[in-house]
Symmetry: none
Subunit: 285 residues, 2 copies
DNA sequence: ACCGCGGTCAATAATTTATGCTTCGGCCAT
DNA sequence: ATGGCCGAAGCATAAATTATTGACCGCGGT
């Protein structure tokens, strides 16, 4: 039971001095943090031992125990209330625009988690695993998307899944011409409107390769021809902020895929650990 | 800041004994309630004074103060997890590992915000603005860091700040040989241990260029020669998770810089809007 | 009036926390 | 190499906080 509730409930049965202690604590619970038993006694003009006996009668191990419990309760209730007094957390954060960005990112990452069915993620992981072992993985993205394509290809290679990465549509077109059933193509395109990517994806699909698209959560041409369509949520009034939010959510989605890949297979995980160690060693000597 | 986040963010800079204290507290925060500083010291086989000094270094008034703060935090988080059925966390429970990743990212981004002095960020923004107008900006990063170097260079170009980007140390070395006072070099290096980058940075510094390093929040060679050292906090037991967390925090730091650059100057902001529109048009027809 | 009883306090014991001092080991410049 | 410097860690101890003891007081019941 909360110490404050306990104090209140016993208040009626208390002696005069005890009641003054009880009232003080109930009124100034948040000040307790900075009071020793002696200071509390001074504040009330009573002896320190009375304070200690008070706490023991209530069933606490001693004064520090009561103090600790009250602290916990305050913390809990502040959290529940929303922390009215300490609310200016965003205000304290230097630039409020950064705080807004942070909030948008958080919202968007959560939304992104929710709009991608676990089955889609599992299917993607399975496809990548299969293609990594028996086929090929192709990855493409243009412009800013290229950075994420590149990053994901790098991560896959750590897991022992080699990916053909390209930031050039025409080169990728020729790479893809050798596609076989079982291969996987991962296309990153925020707006899903790039004609060249659309063509590549459709060609790949016709060759019975599996096409996974990663786009904004809109209706766009690219999604329509995907075998698996992963989507990213991201919104803000200002375009440049929205762009940051998109990238953050995209990264989070990819990190989720990566984690699933790691967990799904012990061998792969072992390979990852080995690779990381090898990289670490290359930097040391 | 939560005491646990604070401890985690400082962990890298700690000595061996301090790190053991930090780990113990992070692992057994809920046990702290019943531990005196002496008991904690015994549990770790170290001296009681080391425990007290540890707490003081972290900015607490002493051991009881730390204990109290940790108690508050535990209480708050217990309330958050168990009491209120706040949807986001359970919703993310497709894989608990992803939930952990999310938590680590959040902590690390918060810690990263706190360990970079606003003055450092402002100074970086000012340096980039000046060099963008009258001098040159050089950006380099190797391996995974290259992706972020590349991404940031791209963002700067949207703001009308052209940056010389390179993922090749030897090429960058020759680029840098033309460095003049007022130029800025931005070096991304998670561990700050790459000898080639160190040499480039030092050469640049000698030519009176301004060196901005972005590294993990550790003591590393690169930081020591920086005019401005930006740092990133990121921790997890599993190396591959830690790597994801690092990248996420790094991105957040860079996003913060970008936002400041946008806000600081209306002309630049206008240019950004214009560039975004131009890009949008290129995709439409 | 006298005893018992609960309550309070001052004095003090016990525990806990904080600090001063010393030693040790790594690091840098000579 | 060598001497000096600095930080880390421990030991001893001071300071503080907390807990206990025993004496005193007022009050109600016998």
């Amino acid at each position: 039971m909360s110490p404050l509730v306990k104090i209140r409930s016993e208040r009626d049965r208390m002696s005069a001095v005890e009641r003054r202690i009880a009232d003080f604590i109930l009124e100034n619970a948040q000040l307790l943090r900075d009071y020793s038993s002696q200071q509390l006694a001074n504040a009330l003009g009573i002896s320190q031992s009375s304070v200690v006996k008070f706490t023991q009668k209530l069933g606490f191990r001693g004064y520090p125990d009561l103090k600790f419990s009250v602290g916990e309760t305050i913390a809990r209730s502040e959290n529940g209330d929303g922390g009215a007094p300490s609310a200016p957390i965003p205000a304290s954060e230097g630039s409020s625009a950064v705080a807004t960005l942070w909030r948008r990112k958080t919202e968007a990452e959560e939304a992104t988690r929710l709009i991608n069915a676990p089955e889609s993620l599992d299917a993607t992981v399975a496809a990548l695993a299969r293609a990594g072992a028996n086929g090929r993985v192709f990855i493409i993205g243009l412009g800013e998307d290229d950075l994420y394509a590149r990053g994901f290809a790098l991560k896959l290679s750590l897991l022992g899944i080699l990916a053909v990465h390209s930031f050039d549509a025409s080169r990728m077109a020729s790479n893809v011409s050798a596609a076989k059933p079982g291969d996987v193509l991962l296309v990153f395109s925020e707006h899903g409107r790039h004609p060249a990517l659309y063509k590549i994806a459709r060609f790949f699909h016709e060759r019975r390769g599996q096409v996974v698209t990663v786009t904004r959560h809109t209706l766009n041409p690219l999604r329509t021809i995907a075998d698996i369509a992963l989507v990213v949520s991201a919104h803000d009034e200002q375009p440049h902020v929205q762009s940051l939010v998109y990238q953050s959510s995209l990264q989070h989605l990819l990190d989720g895929l990566f984690m699933r890949l790691c967990e799904e297979d012990d061998d792969r995980h072992a390979q990852l650990v080995a690779n990381l160690e090898r990289i670490g060693q290359m930097l040391e000597p």
